[in-house]
């Protein structure tokens, strides 16, 4: 039972191992390597063996020819002793297994091995077979057919034998001995047999080397792939799995570091992006829930406070009526009534906040709204010894805006200024004025599309807190994105790629790749090509496609001429905002106040100003102070 379990476990381990992408890759590549390297080694070895054997064969043939030539004289003279001597002498070479001469009947006449002399060879014996296979002996034999490899005994080394037929010659049958008849074609055969021991050893060594090489190569490939997979596949996949698990457990702060640039890197990046968005969304849900419960809380608190306030207000106003003949008391009671009325307004404001009303625009005097806001936060300002300097334009025209929301804006900015000034006191100056500005650098593009109506606005990439216009740029062989400044004529563009000025530039829609270059027109400043972007309901924005040429034209906006704004500048002498924070302060949930703030204040302000088609800008210097500039269109 235990063994069976163990076997199952092994099978399971194997199965899970085979499921691994790395293992699969190694397996496939390993098999391919085995086939290729194995095949290569096999054919390589085979050809080497052939070359070696060919060499031996050539050597044997030469030897056989040499023996034949050196014994020729002896044969002619029929001097058998001399032939014996020659054969014996040559046959002493240890490499030579046998050196024999047969007559045509198969009788061994000469041999380096004396015991063989006089022996008859069967026609079907090893050395005879090539010629005698067809019963009738062949007279001519090709070189290849004259060699053979055999073993004399079962376990001995291989032997290469070469037969060299000795043909009848005129000098043979005309010699005095008349040993051979004229009719005979072949008189005998010289058989040279050479040991292949050394060669076989060499071949064996070669085979061994080949095998070792193949094994090393295959394992090296496997190892390299394994390392590669481990480094570039396993590790990032493990990291991804880990990250997914973390996110699954609710840890949305988990981000994959060192994502790399390959496909898995891109996956990791988009994973990070996803968690970031999830987090933002969660935060938003959390925040809206928080706001909703805050609203409920505010409403609840309002209710609870309103009841006791009713007691105070009714009794005090009742007393006020009853003490008409006591002016001193009236004065004091009036204070109570007035302050209770103020509390009533504050609670009403709380309820209004809970209701989160849509803007209710009316014609308002901004100076009054600022005064009202200062009134609300005045006590806080006094606590910090903050002096408020009012530089109002008394003839400021009225703007159409939601008074409550505007008050919220100024209150928030004042509270922020107060916070940044801290306990040591400082100054907040508020300046209002009417200004008129050319559209450049003021009008913000909030909507832009390509000819096929694909949205070009990119909320991900913001320039000074505004969604940018994302365009795809093709420059030489490179592709990338540029993010155009959405503020008309401001040109704080971000370039996603380095632009090679020498090469032609094409600007296309990132969604459908349709070209945004207008071939019909050229830049009036530099003569280069221009791009043309559709602004829904507001005509086209045109601009020079050349890097560093900032020509831009938006006819509809230009034709409307200068625009009038009410400008409110709120300047404090507080601690200032570090540069790295400046671009983020209008983002929701960005807060440096930690637990003290929600990080929503400025983003709400941003939203309010946005609804009013206005702009808000911030300038700040650490240690010197911050200046907010709000412009509301007239």
């Amino acid at each position: 039972m235990k063994k069976l379990g163990c076997a199952f476990k092994k099978l399971w381990v194997l199965k899970t191992m085979f499921r691994k992408i790395g293992f699969k890759l190694i397996f496939i590549v390993g098999i391919t390597a085995i086939v290729i390297i194995g095949g290569y080694t096999y054919f390589n070895l085979k050809s080497e063996t052939n070359i070696l054997l060919g060499e031996v064969e050539r050597h044997a043939l030469e030897l056989s020819e040499a023996v034949k030539n050196s014994t020729r004289h002896g044969m002619m003279l029929n001097q058998r002793e001399m032939i014996h001597d020659i054969i014996n002498t040559i046959g002493k070479d240890p490499a030579i297994y046998a050196l024999r001469v047969f007559n045509k009947d198969g009788e061994i006449i000469y041999s380096n091995r004396l015991e063989d002399i006089g022996k008859m060879l069967d026609k079907y014996a090893e050395s005879c077979y090539a010629c005698h296979a067809a019963n009738k002996p062949l007279e001519k034999l090709a070189i290849n057919d004259r060699t053979r490899i055999y073993r004399s005994e079962q376990d001995s080394s291989r032997i290469l034998g070469v037969i060299n037929p000795i043909y009848n010659e005129r000098s043979c049958y005309e010699a005095e001995c008349h040993a051979h008849p004229t009719s005979a074609k072949v008189l005998g055969v010289l058989d040279v047999s050479i040991h292949l021991k050394d060669i076989d050893k060499k071949i064996g060594d070669n085979e061994m080397h080949g095998l070792i090489f193949a094994l090393i190569a295959i394992s090296a490939i496997g190892l390299i792939i394994a390392l590669f997979v481990k480094r570039w596949v396993d590790k990032p996949v493990k990291e991804l799995v880990n990250a997914t698990n973390q996110v699954g457990l609710g840890n949305l702060n988990y981000a994959i570091k060192e994502a790399g640039t390959d496909e898995l890197g891109i996956l990791a990046q988009s994973f990070n992006n996803m968690t970031k968005k999830l987090k933002d969304m969660q935060m938003q849900i959390f925040q809206s829930e928080k706001m909703a419960s805050l609203g409920q809380l505010a409403a609840g608190v309002a209710h609870e406070i309103n009841n006791p306030l009713t007691g105070v207000l009714t009794y005090s106003s009742y007393l006020l009526k009853r003490t008409k003949d006591n002016p001193e008391m009236q004065e004091d009671l009036n204070v109570i009534v007035r302050e209770t009325m103020r509390s009533r307004e504050i609670v009403k404001g709380l309820l209004d906040f809970a209701r989160q009303s849509t803007p209710k625009k009316s014609s308002i005097n901004i100076n009054e709204i600022i005064d009202r806001s200062i009134g609300v936060v005045n006590n806080q300002l006094k606590l910090n010894n903050v002096v408020v300097e009012k530089l109002y334009d008394e003839n400021l025209p009225k703007v159409t805006a939601d008074a409550n929301q505007m008050q919220q804006v100024f209150m928030n900015l004042l509270v922020n200024a107060n916070d940044s000034i801290g306990r040591n006191g400082g100054r907040i100056s508020i300046k209002t004025s009417e200004i008129s500005l050319p559209p450049e650098g003021v009008v913000t593009i909030k909507n832009a599309v390509c000819e096929k109506n694909h949205n070009l606005m990119d909320n991900e990439h913001k320039i000074e807190g505004l969604a940018s216009i994302k365009l795809k740029i093709k420059n030489g062989g490179k592709e990338g994105f540029i993010y155009l400044d959405p503020v008309y004529g401001r040109h704080k563009n971000d370039y996603g790629i380095k632009i090679d000025k020498g090469k032609p530039v094409n600007i296309v829609c990132p969604v459908c790749d349709i070209s945004l270059i207008d071939k019909n027109e050229k830049c009036p400043q530099c003569g280069e090509e221009i791009y043309k972007i559709k602004i829904p309901n507001d005509g086209y924005l045109r601009g020079c496609a050349k890097f560093n040429d900032h020509w831009q034209k938006w006819d509809i906006v230009d034709s409307s001429g200068k625009r009038k704004f009410v400008e409110i500048i709120i300047k404090d002498t507080g601690c200032g905002i570090p540069k790295e924070h400046l671009s983020k302060i209008f983002e929701p949930f960005f807060s440096t106040k930690g637990q003290k703030g929600t990080g929503l204040g400025l983003s709400v302000i941003w939203g309010i100003i946005e609804i009013h088609n206005g702009t808000i800008n911030v300038e700040s210097e650490v240690g010197k102070g911050t200046t907010f500039t709000i412009r509301l269109p007239l």
Binding site: N306, V312, S317, Y318
Partner: protein, 263 residues
């Protein structure tokens, strides 16, 4: 023996009851208070009242349920709703359900006195109507008009703007109007929030709640110079504002069609 009072005040806070009784008695009205709706309903069976001032947020039976119960029991006493949860939604809902007035907490003596006077006047009108059935007491608003409770009316014009005014019943309950204060052109009104102030010869100020949210585009200047116009011809010459309504579709659901008055 059934006792007779002018006002029944229903609130779960004793201090509110005490203050209302005090103010009422200062004005020469008699008042009694109950801490919850159950007791108030019992008290209504026992004693006679001319006006009920009722809180919304109360344990067990809340103000809205209380109005329904009063209606179900066919108790013909006008109700004024008050609440610390003083949102416009509550104001609109109260008037929609049949309350004749809404007074958000905390209120001043003057505010309470004004609305009590209006309530008691309403009771008088009600009495006179039931006394002589066929007698013509007030002019109901034209059939195609809509009204917010018994106070303000509105009529949608073909151009999408609305005309807003006060109903005859409302002006009849506030007696002689001395002065009308209005909001400015371009101001934004919210349904259920005060949009006009009627000063009477008794030096009371009555709030008229706006029947709709919208932007004021016209104010009836003739009415400002001659406030009695609203009493003489409340539905035509006596109009107060012309609005561009902002949330008409949504808010019309909380208005009562005047055609229902004639059935």
């Amino acid at each position: 023996m059934a006792e007779k009072y002018d006002i029944l005040i229903v609130d779960d806070e004793q201090v509110i009851i005490d203050s209302v009784i005090k103010i009422a008695s200062m004005e020469g009205f008699s008042a009694a208070g109950e801490l919850n709706a159950h007791k108030a309903l019992e008290r209504l069976q026992k004693d006679k009242f001319k006006l009920i001032v009722c809180d919304i947020m109360m344990p067990e039976i809340d103000g809205f349920q209380f109005i329904n119960e009063i209606e179900r029991r066919k108790i013909d006493i006008p109700i004024i709703i008050t609440t610390g949860y003083s949102t416009v939604e509550n104001a609109v809902q109260s008037l929609y359900q049949g309350a004749i007035g809404f007074i958000p907490k905390p209120f001043t003596t003057d505010e309470l006195v004004s609305i009590i006077h209006r309530g008691l006047n309403y009771w008088k009108l009600l009495k006179s109507r039931t006394g002589t059935k066929s007698e013509f007491v007030y002019v109901p608003c034209p059939a195609k008009y809509y009204r917010l409770g018994y106070s303000a009316w509105m009529n949608l014009d073909y151009d999408g703007t609305v005309l807003v005014g006060a109903t005859d019943l409302y002006t009849k309950t506030i007696n002689t109007i001395k002065k009308i204060s209005v909001m400015n052109i371009d101001d934004q009104t919210v349904q259920g929030q005060t949009c006009a102030w009627f000063e009477t010869e008794e030096n009371l100020t009555h709030h008229l709640l706006s029947p709709l949210s919208g932007k004021i585009i016209l104010v009836n200047e003739k009415l400002i110079s001659n406030p009695s116009l609203v009493e003489k011809d409340p539905y035509f010459e006596g109009w107060i504002y012309r609005y561009i309504p902002t949330e008409y579709e949504y808010e019309i659901k909380k208005l009562i069609p005047c055609s229902s008055d004639r059935s």
